[in-house]
Amino acid sequence: MTTTSSSDILLEARELVKHFPLRRSLSQALRGERPAVRAVDGVGFHVRRGEILGLVGESGCGKTTTGRLLLRLEEPTGGQVLFDGQDITQLTPQEMTRLRRRMQIVFQDPYDSMNPNMDIFNIVAEPLRIQGIAKSREEMEERVARALADVELVPVEEFMHRYPKELSGGQRQRVAIARALVLEPDFVVADEPVSMLDVSIRGGILKILQRLVRERGLSLVFITHDLSLARHFCDRVAVMYLGQIVEYAPSDALVQKPHHPYTQALMQAVLSTDPRRKHIYTGLKGEIPNPANPPSGCRLHPRCPLATEQCRSEAAPLTEHAPGHWAACHHVAKALAQLQAPAAG
């Protein structure tokens, strides 16, 4: 028997690791070293049924790789992904294919992720064919039509036989979502689905995703570099830095009371749209280190204003500081105190 709290959870990542091996030099080979880009390095979180979880971070933080690991589009170097209690990293390819009915992805680029020679009907119908789901042409047409209606590409008949190049970026992204939805999955990873779209258009896409989550109990992992968007769109947000989660909290709590110095810096760096609040923050010193050779201890320490000897030698574990609010920092109290003080810089 499962407890209520665990059946509420659809997916859980445990200690996920993905290292991409680099070519090694002779001297590294002689020393027995195996250089690798440590794209994801011990990431754990859970996704509840019917929630939107944001995965936020700067380029190269490992958020896209994490998303791909959740769907096993990438083989993990270590760790587990439990989907409905089942460890998907142990499934055979056949079992995995079957499970993909329930787990889908929407990619960032609506121009690159579609075969230009297929019409919209065939693009959306392809997952049905792969899964051998729709038995008749009528059933397939009906399911494609329903998926297109779900993403508001109406009248459906008008879109079915058009080609991607005849559609705008926003319309293509709707097709990509329809393709993910046609199998009626319970879990979708959306990797920067609106970052290439104009502001006036992106709201339309976000509202469709939001409606699907609310109406169907879909669980969505929303990957974005935009903390401001994540704050308004997601129920909870996980902030990543150099392959690790540094903070993880309900989105309001994260923005109102960021516990980790990195989240605090990221928040300050987001420019305000209010010209009366002029503030360009260039806070954290330096740039993101090379993930092939991450700093010892806490990975933020070379850039962190609060870093101490302990930070240089000891990684900070992700710990719960308030209900549902997790942060990986040795100096949360100091970080919070700094938040009270007038912002410098």
Binding site: S200, H225, T273, P275
Partner: protein, 330 residues
């Protein structure tokens, strides 16, 4: 007197399907040392406007009307040779969108700046090298990096190097087209800070073209909101972003929630921007505007000052006193 004044500028592209009216009657002025933001979505003509000012247009483009005055000098009637020698790069320079990816990977960053100087000015190689190093320093890059290659620079440094290159011939006006669009927030902040410092130090005038309201809110004095080849609202940023009157500007501001604001529902503007081959009659925003009436469909509104000083808006529904209907996009 304004340093740069543009009046009723029109630039159309000729295509097989007809004329694309990318810049369709644009007027603005820029005082020395001030910064003007041009904000709008893809295809609104904002990048074409920059290219028109610098006369870097493809062969099928044609300036069909209007005037551009720089320091009192009329530019549209100037011949290409004089423009190339006396204006482009030396008086107006541009930082192109994605320029940091256009650095030559097999030449050092410093030599590429030196080359830009030597191409335009009669100075010795040594002087040019010296100037290139000073320019690097000006944008916050250690001059010791002169002999490094682009791949040894981070994205933010490359972008700053490209800005240094645009400054090579001491221009008075810089046009920066989406200068921080592909950069992470922290790096974006560094680049914007570098631009702000330069403006203060060199008394540069800046035209910053961006789709991002927050970049413009933080760096510009004035803003012109473009929609479908026209300016729909224009004035000081404090006015336009705080009290937007045009329904399109209101929609843009609502669609860009501030991170510090209460968690708010997602907002979008219905429909899509029009095709400029055949723009809508009357107000070009009317097919997407919840307030549109017959007048909007039939008569094109003029960009005129309404209410506050220097706050200009092109909308029939804003009263002469500046009262606007608040539009709530959902």
């Amino acid at each position: 007197m304004a340093q740069l004044a543009v009046e009723n500028l029109k630039m159309y592209y000729r295509t097989r399907k007809g004329q694309v009216r990318a810049v369709d009657g644009i007027s603005f002025s820029l005082e020395a040392g001030r910064a003007l933001g041009i904000v709008g979505e893809s295809g609104c003509g904002k990048s074409s406007l920059g290219l028109t000012l610098l006369r870097l247009l493809p062969p099928n483009a044609q300036v069909v009307g209007g005037a551009i005055r720089l320091g009192g000098q009329e530019l549209t009637s100037m011949d290409d040779e004089t423009f190339r020698k006396d204006v482009r790069w030396t008086k107006i320079a541009m930082v192109f969108q994605g320029a940091m990816n256009a650095l030559n990977p097999v030449l050092t960053v410093g030599s590429q700046i030196t080359e830009a100087i030597l191409a335009h000015e009669k100075v010795s190689k040594e002087e040019a090298v010296q100037r290139a190093k000073e320019l690097l320093e000006l944008v916050g890059i250690n001059p010791a990096r002169y002999s490094h290659y682009p791949h040894e620079f981070s994205g933010g440094m490359k972008q700053r190097a490209v800005i240094a290159m645009a400054l090579a011939c001491h221009p008075d006006v810089i046009i920066a087209d989406e200068p921080t669009t592909a950069l992470d927030v922290m790096v974006q902040a560094q680049v914007l800070k570098a631009i702000a410092d330069l403006r203060a130090r060199l008394n540069l005038s800046l035209i910053l073209v961006s789709h991002d309201l927050s970049v413009i809110a933080q760096t510009c004095d004035d803003v012109a909101v473009m929609y479908a080849g026209k300016i729909v609202e224009y004035g000081p940023v404090e006015e336009i972003f705080v009290r937007p009157r045009h329904p399109y500007t209101q929609g843009l501001v609502q669609a860009f929630p501030d991170i510090h604001a209460e968690r708010a529902p997602i907002v979008s503007i219905p429909g899509t921007p029009p095709n400029l081959l055949n723009p809508p009659s009357g107000c070009r925003f009317h097919p997407r505007c919840p307030l549109a009436n017959d007048q909007c469909r039939g008569v094109e509104p003029e960009l005129v000052e309404k209410g506050a000083a220097r706050h200009r808006v092109a909308c029939h529904l804003v009263s002469p006193g500046g009262e606007a209907v608040e539009v709530r996009f959902a």
